[in-house]
Symmetry: none
Subunit: 212 residues, 4 copies
DNA sequence: GATGAATGAGTTTTCATTCAT
DNA sequence: CATGAATGAAAACTCATTCAT
């Protein structure tokens, strides 16, 4: 960065981006508790206290990060909507699952949204987030609608909400830490951890029955 | 408590129970971060340092709490299995959903199991937990089998895993904090937060299609 | 141990011995800070609180341990006095050094005697220790006297005190921890750590000049 | 201090100095165990947690303190080297002993260097210390060389190492706590505690025989 | 007399947050 | 406006010591 003080909007945005990137890097390797101002400050090119000018809590940073992830996901969904004329149920489920595979952090962040993120967030920030989030939902509806044109509105909504809840619950059970894996191995049961992509697709197939 | 020092096994169990209860009380009102030795110590009738005799980390306490919740849930599933000869798909889904309604903390704890609980837990404790958890799964299988006798093994397993992932994801979106609700309201969208019990039942109905 | 309560003197002695042994084991592997009631309690066959019946502080245990080490050393010196009729200066120094080599813990304990051991000790215990210690000094005098019969009393005393101070200071610089060694290596200087036995002997040779 | 925040290098040094001074004060009156962050924090004009900015462990503080003591000692040795053209053996020993008398804490710290200081120190810090320490040794060599010009290199080295080990061992036995003195008195033996300065000189006289 | 549960005091350590520069 | 030094609060953790059983 070749400026010392962020005067213009663009510079402010650049700083914000750097903070978000630092936050993302930390979260990608560790867990929520590893994300704190000290760590973020050390990852950015500027000082910890400077971050306060842009965000008041780490939760607000994570909320912005989540929003970005949501947008990326929406983008992917949109892209796949546009690039196919029609899809078999199976092909749809597979492709839809793929959009989640490519945006895994979205699922991690979503799962802590309700318990952690909102905890230390201003109501304004949270409201803004919710508004954004809901505004983004249309492309998802349109996607399902396109490939299941005869499905009712209601069943499309049912598919979307059921599948998203499902995928939210599926994520952690398919992404176990080495320690978890070791514990399962030692437990004596021969439980095989599913592959996220295929389990996701399978679940979607079942849930997609509502679209018939 | 009418003893000062836990000498017999029963008394030790009593102490453990008190710790677990304190932990449960704190977690029921707040979130994981509110659960720490200081808070637990203040909720019990004995000193903070005494807790170290029974548990080395708060995660191990929560893991035990989760195990209890799992057992309670299993107990409820069993009870409903035994108390009905046969059930319609809808009745089954409603009753099955009800077992979750009555054990909501199970879902909260489950959702942090993968990210938080295992973090500061000895491998031994975690292994023991996994062993217990897996040993408990049979009654669930038997329950579904009883009411869907013609369903294949595979589809029963699919129902169980899909529905449990679903319900795990559903829980937080139907249990929003006042702040979340306010934020949604302020966002301008008229999104209605579903009732957990009915949303759960609805989702199960969809997923139960795999049992046909 | 096949008794639950130490009634007889012999049993009391046996307990004391066990405590001392535990203490020695811990000190041999670690440092003074590793020696505490908790650790000692865990190394013995009885409870931590039972130790209070025999010793009030860990320093008193260490003081007893030191006394034992002194006695062992004296014993070795005596043995070598008795087993030789006469010795050359060099042979004497080598053999004398050897008595220290075989009682290295004595040197470690001695070096903390003044700073640590006396700190948390009753005056009675300390007095008793001093009395014992001084009573033990005669054999050392006799040893030097035997092999240097023409040396004056004064020069014998000078040799004893100078050599014992020397050996006390020598010990740590010839027994470096792996970390110290690594640090020296990394420092770039090619300092070679002396071997205790030979450095000790060499120093004694110099100091023994007083006996000529 | 007329600044609230150490911004310039000089101010940072000033803080460091204050920490070292606090540490020195505590150590001069008590023992190593009395030196801890809490105590140091209370002795300085700033908060305990601020010290962490300057030192990570108390051992690193003590190591720096030791280094300062070494430098002071070296300075004194140098000074006496420069201020005399030649010295009799006795005068040399007396003056050399005097450099130790004036830097007694050096001896206390040295005696715990091997057991305590290195324990909780980063390898880097320790390496840096060793490097400094060794770099400082030349003036000592030069001092002995100047006053014993005909002595061989080897015997000069022998004098230096033997005398330094000796003085290290001598220190504690001539600096007994009131309690130790009382215990000796009560023991009944009429052991007279030597005066450090003269005992040191006497020992040096003996050891200096190697320089003849 | 022996035990080990319970306690409390003491220390370390880590961060969010403030504020002098 | 940016910084990073300083702070204080909070939590973890460990033992010596006491005391009910």
């Amino acid at each position: 960065m070749d400026f010392k003080r962020a005067r213009t909007n663009a510079q402010v945005e650049e700083r914000r981006r750097e903070i978000l990137q630092a936050c993302a890097d930390i979260y990608d390797q560790g867990d929520v508790d590893d994300v704190h101002f000290k760590a973020i400050g050390e990852k950015t090119s500027f000082a910890r206290s400077t971050i306060y000018k842009y965000y008041s809590t780490k939760e607000e940073i994570l909320l912005d990060l989540l929003l970005i992830d949501v947008m990326n996901w929406i983008y992917d969904v949109r892209e796949f909507t546009d690039s196919h004329e029609s899809l078999s149920k199976e092909a749809f489920c597979k492709t839809f699952a793929q959009t989640y595979v490519e945006n895994e952090r979205l699922l991690r962040l979503m799962s802590i949204l309700y318990s952690v993120l909102e905890k230390n967030c201003s109501l304004e920030k949270l409201t803004e987030f919710k508004r954004n989030l809901m505004g983004f939902m249309t492309p998802i509806y349109e996607c399902v609608k396109k490939f299941f044109p005869s499905a009712s509105d209601e069943s499309i909504q049912a598919f979307i909400s059921t599948s998203s809840n499902y995928v939210l619950g599926l994520y952690p059970s398919t992404h176990m830490s080495p320690k978890q894996k070791k514990a399962i191995e030692l437990s004596g049961y021969d439980y095989e951890i599913s592959d996220f992509a295929s389990a996701c697709c399978q679940g979607f197939m079942i849930i997609a029955s509502v679209l018939d």
